[in-house]
């Protein structure tokens, strides 16, 4: 075994999670440099043991549960959520029905109005006559003219 190959085994050997194979053991006995290096890496790892991490605080679980509850409240997203909430679905259906009814009522009202027709056509002329009749029936000046003509005829027979 060469030093390079042995060096790759060092982390696990130094950590103690792996035992040196016969080949690695032979290299270790014959190579002072690798033996010294392995020993120093072992000591370095012991030094790293001094860096301790704290335990999770007593509030860890409580906080996580609260965050999970928030997470669950958010999901499931999308329009399918409506199908899972009957009350909201009912309100939405009623609003939709009212909206459609109002729209149709408005549409029908528009349908009942006069049909636009071009002047000169039969329908156009009839509509024009209707308008004139309305105009003349409200035109007081014409009544005055008629009554004045009758007076003139009476005075000068």
């Amino acid at each position: 075994m060469k030093c390079k190959e042995f060096s790759e085994l060092m982390p696990d050997l130094a950590l103690g999670v792996d035992q040196a194979s016969a080949e690695a053991g032979e290299h270790l006995r014959s190579c002072t440099s690798c033996a010294t290096r392995l020993d120093e890496i072992r000591k370095t790892m012991s030094l790293l043991d001094e860096w301790q991490a704290p335990e999770p605080s007593p509030y860890f679980d409580t906080r996580l549960q609260a965050r999970l509850r928030e997470e669950k409240a958010k999901t499931p997203a999308g329009w399918l959520v409506w199908l899972r909430r009957p009350a909201m679905a009912l309100v939405a259906t009623i609003l939709l029905a009212v909206g459609i009814t109002m729209f149709r009522g408005d549409f029908n009202k528009k349908d009942s109005g006069p049909i636009a027709a071009f002047p000169g056509t039969a329908v156009g002329d009839l509509q024009q006559l209707d308008k004139n009749h309305d105009l003349y029936s409200d035109f007081d000046v014409l009544d005055d003219l008629v009554s004045q003509q009758q007076e003139d005829q009476t005075a000068n027979p």
């Binding site: 085994l9 982390p11 030094l47 860096w51 991490a53 704290p54 860890f60 906080r63 996580l64 997470e71």
Partner: protein, 193 residues
Amino acid sequence: MSTDGLSDADVMLRVKAGDEPAFDYLVQKYRRPMVSFMYRMAHNAAAAEDLAQEVFLRVYRSRGSYEASAKFTTWLYRIATNLAVNHARDTRHERPENMASLDEADEETGTTMDVADTSPNVEEKLVKQERLKAIRQKVENLPERQRLAVLMHKYQQMDYKQIGEVLNLSESATKSLLFRAYETLREQLKEFI
């Protein structure tokens, strides 16, 4: 919930199927390793807890897409690593170069970052604190992948294969990476050995 004979991946598949106690089981099993991993990445107990919680939230969010193709821990540490690296990058300029003093109490917990010290001698205590400060600094100064590999190997007891899977490296590349990292630490911490 009985998890006898079940691997973590099997338990996660139960979570995927809507088994809430299965998720609690995984949280209880991995909360401590997650907090300690994040603590060594974030150097702050409160941030470590927040990040560890975020890991579990992401696990929960991703439960639907979980595939038991890899070990559960590989998947878990991939999530943790991404979060920790992003956090480290985001807060790089917030942390002083020499890091917080070990005498300073943590903002939230009120505890010092040091380990329990039983030595009665003040001088010994100061030496120990200096040593701890150096350890933290030297690990922090390692290149990102080397730092992650050391934290997973030394403190999370993960093997080369798992570390390689988390970091997307071959087993051989992981061994080399770890050797280089420990060599750097050996050189730089020589005075304390």
